[in-house]
């Protein structure tokens, strides 16, 4: 049952140096807030009772989307709605543009941020899986300076990330590469977290699949990069046989826990179905192109 939010402090910082001093002053009782679309709901359940909320939404360095040094750089404060309509994102990482409509609802997409979604690391969320599929780098910042963490190493366990205390996500950087991307999920209602989902990035060269990255969500403690299913496709012509091989290889990639949606075997089934749907989608695209 929900309650009103607990009594707490609130302060808004305008720059990273201000943030570091605020964090130093408030220590472990401080909780950083960006879009707040998860955090504020957890306050209502008293799942978190921060001493002081530190609002980072007006730190200009954490905003904006640009192409720099061969990478698409997406500021941590980029809201889902902004991500969905950004022309650079559409051009260089269409997987993200395609993921946005699957995230919650319009009113939530107007506030929630990519940095917040990655930092919260819900295993059923779309964006963590997408950034792993895109082989992105999570750029973090702290009083000690910047770190660059490959997305596949960033998600360490259930709701856990490689972020250290006092460290925030500053941006996500995605290597520019002419990749195809697609994402699909199965959810009970539109906007719900997925029971199972799949984000894929790959290249197609002369009908052959190159460097595929199949990343499943809602089936583990974080995004699951399916190494065997990806390997079953790599270098092969995309056809019914290679798709079936990827589906078969998936059995050794996934170890889904039982959750409120159903038993592990149901998740495995959904993952196989999604694999067929997403990969056949690429096949249709190729046929149209040919």
């Amino acid at each position: 049952m929900f309650m009103k939010w607990p009594a707490m402090g609130y302060l808004r910082v305008a720059s990273l140096p201000d943030l570091w001093s605020a964090l130093a002053e408030h220590g472990a009782s401080a909780q950083i807030i960006a879009g707040g679309q998860t955090l504020l709901a957890t306050l209502a359940f008293r799942l978190s009772e921060p001493g002081t909320l530190i609002d980072i939404t007006r730190i200009a360095e954490l905003r904006g989307v640009c192409v720099t040094g061969g990478m698409l750089r997406i500021g941590a404060l980029t809201r889902h709605a902004e991500l969905g309509r950004d022309a650079l994102v559409r051009a260089h990482a269409p997987l993200l543009s395609e993921a946005v409509p699957l995230i919650a609802h319009p009113a939530i997409r107007n506030r929630g941020t990519i940095g917040g979604s990655l930092a919260y690391a819900d295993p059923a969320a779309e964006l963590p899986a997408c950034v792993v599929a895109l082989d992105a780098v999570v750029v973090t910042a702290s009083a000690q300076g910047e770190r660059r963490i490959p997305a596949r190493e960033f998600f360490t366990d259930l709701l856990q990330t490689a972020l250290e205390p006092g460290e925030i996500i500053a941006a996500v950087e995605i290597p520019l590469a002419a990749r195809l991307g697609a994402i699909q999920e199965v959810a009970r209602r539109s906007g719900d977290y997925a029971m199972a989902g799949l984000a894929v990035a790959l290249r197609l060269e002369g009908g052959r699949v190159m460097e595929p990255r199949l990343v499943y969500f809602g089936v583990g403690n974080g995004p699951v990069l399916a190494a065997r299913a990806s390997a079953a496709l790599d270098g092969h012509a995309l056809d019914a046989a290679s798709i079936a091989a990827a589906q078969a290889a998936l059995a050794d990639d996934l170890d889904p826990p039982q959750d409120l949606h159903g038993p592990p075997e149901m998740k495995r089934h959904l993952a196989r179905v999604l694999t067929g749907r997403v990969l056949n989608g690429f096949l249709t695209q190729t046929e149209i192109a040919a």
């Binding site: 707040g36 504020l40 919650a104 906007g191």
Partner: protein, 172 residues
């Protein structure tokens, strides 16, 4: 202390950090049109506009809104922007118990304001975060669809009238 604009009026108030936008509007400003229901971001009854975009009022800290522009159902209704939508809600009996209606109108106004020609499926998708516990969804979507069609027809006839005007002006 925060200073913001609510329905066009400048408001300065002291707010506690634990106050969300909906309690601020309802309890501090007496604007009770926006409804507090689930209060954890699920039901959409508290939908309001902040800086032109719809948000869940229960998932916004009032304290964070210094300088913001907030429009509630009261302001939207008074502006006349949704008079046709409201008339269609009545015509279609899309307000049953009425509890979800302010949030539904705010969200429906959002898709209508974004232009384009959304399909019935797109309207349903846009409204999917607003719950109606009377389950009157068909009538609600009907009302939004009727409004959209009427607006598109009006825009089309404006366009024709405009081009007729231009062609009649041409020989001058």
């Amino acid at each position: 202390m925060i200073t913001l604009t609510v329905n066009g009026e400048r408001v300065t108030r002291h707010v506690e950090p634990r106050r969300h936008l909906i309690d601020f509007l309802r309890l501090d400003l007496g604007l009770t049109g926006s409804h507090a229901a689930c209060e954890h971001g699920v039901c959409g009854a508290c939908t309001v506009r902040v800086d032109g975009e719809i948000v869940r009022g229960c998932l916004v800290l009032a304290a964070s809104l210094d300088g913001a522009e907030v429009v509630t159902i009261e302001g939207l209704s008074d502006s006349g922007e949704v008079a046709d939508l409201q008339a269609n809600f009545v015509a279609r009996n899309a307000a049953q118990c009425g509890f979800c209606t302010p949030g539904m109108i705010m969200t429906a106004a959002d898709i209508l304001a974004h232009g384009g020609t959304p399909s019935r499926a797109e309207i349903r998708e846009h409204l999917s975060g607003n719950y109606c516990r009377c389950t009157g969804y068909q009538a609600i979507v009907d009302a939004v669809e009727d409004t959209l069609k009427a607006r598109l027809m009006a825009a089309d006839s404006d366009l024709r009238a405009g081009s007729a005007l231009r062609s009649s002006e041409a020989p001058r």
